[in-house]
Every structure is written in C-alpha cells, then in structure tokens.
Subunit: 327 residues, 2 copies
Amino acid sequence: MKENENITLEMGGGGQKSAELIAEIRKVIKDVGKWKNTQDDGAVFSLGNENLIFTTDAFIVDPIFFAGGDIGKIAMCGTINDISVMGARPIGISLSIVVEEGFPMEDFKKIISSINKISKESGVPIATGDTKVIEKGKLDKIEITTAGIGLAQNVIANGGAQVGDYVIASGDLGEHTVALLAKRFNYKTKIKSDCQPFNKIIEKVGKYLSACKDPTRGGLAANLNEIADKSKVKVILDENSLPYKKEVVAMTELLGLDKFSLASEGRFIATVAPRDIKKALAILNKFNKEAKVIGRVEKGRGVYLKTELGGLRKIEVPRGKLIPRIC
Amino acid sequence: MKENENITLEMGGGGQKSAELIAEIRKVIKDVGKWKNTQDDGAVFSLGNENLIFTTDAFIVDPIFFAGGDIGKIAMCGTINDISVMGARPIGISLSIVVEEGFPMEDFKKIISSINKISKESGVPIATGDTKVIEKGKLDKIEITTAGIGLAQNVIANGGAQVGDYVIASGDLGEHTVALLAKRFNYKTKIKSDCQPFNKIIEKVGKYLSACKDPTRGGLAANLNEIADKSKVKVILDENSLPYKKEVVAMTELLGLDKFSLASEGRFIATVAPRDIKKALAILNKFNKEAKVIGRVEKGRGVYLKTELGGLRKIEVPRGKLIPRIC
C-alpha cells in the first residue's frame, strides 16, 4: 500500500482489499500478547479452565430500517454470532452509538427497542455502553459499534476443517443483502433480511462443528476461502446444493452481482466430520429446514464449485467493487 | 423525553442531558443479567475467583490531531483508563474504525502507529478489530470505538467513597480540552493534552482508593457529583488546592467556560481513607508531582467548593451547551 494512497470503499467491503488493509494494520500492531486466534471471528484468551472470546463490529448499514430488521438488530446479531461461531456462549455486549444531531428521537427509540428485543431473545445482556452526538451533516444518521465477550470450553477455530468433512449451511444465504438493496432501489420482493442471533443453535450443535463462520461481508466466497486457507484444505461446493433461493439468484442476476459474495446476518456455514453429520443436520433442521450439506472438504487448497457437468470453477475471494454499507 | 423530540448535541456532552438520554436507553434495556456496576465506568461480571470488567467508548474527536495526541491515542487511553479506574488490569482492547472514503492513507497510518505506541507503553494488546469505510461526505473523517476487558480481584466502585476520605487528583486537570480548543481556534499555548494511559499507576496505588473516576466528558463536576451521588456523601473541594494550571484557567476565562467541566484524558480523581493518604500520595507523586489532595468527603449530599472566605458554592452537574467532540 503506497503512502500517497487514500482509503477507498473497497477497503471496507470484506473482500481482497479489506484483507490488505487489515494486513497493513497488523504490520504495525503486531504484538497481541496472550491473545490467540486474532485473525478469526473472535480472539481467544485462556483463563485456565475456560476461554474468553472477544470480538467487535462497526455497523454503518444503509438503509437503517429494512425488511426483517434495522441497524440495532444487525449490530446485536453480528456480534452475538461472531462469538457463537467460535463455539462460545456470549455473556455480554457493549453498545456504542454515534448519532447525528437532529436524528429523530422516535427512530432512536425504535432502534433501542430492537436492540432490547434481540438481547431478550438471545439471552445476551447489554453490559455497558457509550453514546456520542456529532454535529448535523458530519455523519449519515447513525453508527453503532458492538463488542462482545463469550466464554468457551472448546474453541471452534476457523482453521479446524479436516479432509473428509462435510460443508454445511445453516440455512439459505444472501437474503440480508437482497432485502437491503430492495429497500435502496425501491424494488418489490418477498425476501426479508435473514438477520437473527444464532447463539442458541450453536449451543446445541457447536460440539459437532470443526470450523464455523458467518457469511457477512464477502459472503460464502470470503468465508470458505478463509476456512480453506487457515485449515490448509480444499473445499468443493456442489452446484446442485447451493444455499440460495430463486428470488435471491434472480436479484443478483438483475443487478449483475455475484451470489457467492452476498451477505447474511443470521446464518453460519461450518464443516462437520462424517461421523457427526447426521446428528448435526438433525439438530440444525429443527431450527431451519433449509439447513443442508453444500459441499465437501478435500486435500489441496482453494475453493471450487463442481458444476452439474462435472467441471470445477474456482470461487475467489471477492475482489473489486463490493456493495458498500450492507452491514 | 418527548416522542417528537430530536437528538441534540447536549445529549452527547457528558452533562445532565447525556445522563437523561442514557436513562431513556436504560428504561428500555433494563435487563443486565449477571452484570453489576453497569452505571460505573466499567461493568463487572464475576468469574468466581476474579472479576471481568467490560467497557466501551466512541471517539469523534475534532481535530483528530492535536498537541499531545491524536484520535488513536485518545481511543486507547480512554478505554484503558476506564478499566483502570475500576481497579482492574486491562488485558485486551477491541479496535473498531469507521473511516471516510478518501481519507489519506498517511494519516491513517499515523493513527495506527499512535495506537500501537500506547498499546506497547501500557502493555495492553489489541485483541480484535473491525474496519469499515463509508462514502465520502457521510462522516467527518474518522470515528474510532474501543472496547476493553480487564480482570480485577477487588473492584473499585464509583459508590465506594466514605465519610472522612480525602479527595485526590492524580495531576492537574483540563489540559486535554484546552489543547483541543487551542488547535480549533488556532490559539497559541504551551498546554498539551494530558492524554495518557494510567493503568500502571493504578496497579501500584489502586489498593488505597475507595472510589475512582477519570474526568473526561463533564470533567471534575460530573465525576464528583457521580461519586457523591452513588456513595451517598458530600464532597467539599478546597479552593486553594484546585488542580488547574494558570494557563488552563486563563483559557477558560477567555472562552467563558467552566473549568470544572473541562475534560482530561490521562488523569483520575479518587477518594482515599485517612490511614492510606500518605502512602497513596507518595506513590502518585512518583508518577506526577502535581498529584495532591483537593478536598474531603463529609456527611451529606452534593459537591461544594469551599471558597477562601469560607463560603460554600455548589458545583452542579454540567448543564446546557457543553463543548462538542472533545473525545
């Protein structure tokens, strides 16, 4: 990255340029002390008999209200889910809000109510918070940052996938991005954001997962490449079992988007050993009938789609212009 | 707070209106689960043999570079210090950055370096993070939210002050606000921001403090009223021992500000039992010769300044227009 370069939107999109910016930051901030898994969804600190998990996420979603949720709901779900994919039980959330002067109190209260609803639904309390107000015109409405703490006996690491494992999705993907874009473009669709906390699902199924991630920014493409890379394996997706609804695929074709980079905010993908796959799917299907096997883990590197005709198409980490402000 | 009201700058200033907004939020988000001290600088979660402390702070400081620091330094110090005043040892920080498209990479790197410097100086690692980019014109340059985790054997609560205790300041106050305003108004002064992490000072002196707070937004006036209120005591400040430098007082007079509401970002005030005061001051003076007794705790309620002539002037929680974006 050159000195005279400026920050670009792509650097926040969750794709290749995001990874490069984070690498730049970690080139300077190298020392992580006793923390482990600092490149995973949550960092891990051993307390001796159990592990502390710590994660954070900033939300600048546009629009702030959309079908199936709002910025408050997504800020809660994003952090609860990042703790959950590490195999941890979330114990508390910090809630930091920066709001523009003149923001309607009624909307503010709606967002706070939405945050409270997810806190109750997930059983994860707001432990601490901060609220700042910025002059009118200096922020687009509202920004929320949540951080979260979890406790785990056994950590699920991004690098835990094993050759022979099944790849599963906890439900259909990409509905969060589609719901947001539909609202932006005033496009009619039945699709709602998939935004939801899934800590209670992981509580039941976590012990069967060898690796787990939630496909937010960068979607399935970014997630699977990260798992393949960190686990030093190859992932083969089956084109006949892709976890996308027809309406979602139609919307991506209409807008010229890549479905593999669409974001979800209430789904996870995971790898499961063959001995556990039946038990894992039985649990997952109690929560969501769409949960299914979408691929396998093999020897090698990279992520590939096995087409109906038997060909292999490489699924790359998303590059270039990604949709901004979906989370 | 009325439904048709809008968010105002005062609601983020750290004074009376801020307290009202937080009260509104806590009216909705009531359930804090097993967390305690959720109205203190950090919330407390018992792990059995020790306590977890959790805190967060959003920083929208303007200007982002100033004499004695920058937004990165202040974001680190603010959170490290909020954990420290709870009597805890900070073990990790989460770093969430929202940056405007087009922000110069050189400035971004300066801020990251500054964050790294404080991380090394304080011995508190960055465990996890998130970086988002927002379209040009949708944010004033950069916003940073840090959250932090600490571990404490014995928690220092805001409500721990006892009748008879001394009130101390760890150094002169208000220099952070003055340095920021000087940069904004292009006013020449030797005053630099007092921004610094004080976790290593608290490590030594913490055991002698019955209550402790860092006078950021709302300054000494907000801090002491909170301690007096939560501890159900009266605080009497001595006019002859006020912790303000001449240049700081001159600047407040020039700008018509109240010195008692000026923010510091590297100082704390605390209460200390008479039996410990000599030991506490001896330790504090090793770090800063300005550390001194500034008042006493008595029976009653409220915060008062004892004037040279023996009169008592009430020091209220700051109301109305506070300086925006000092932290």
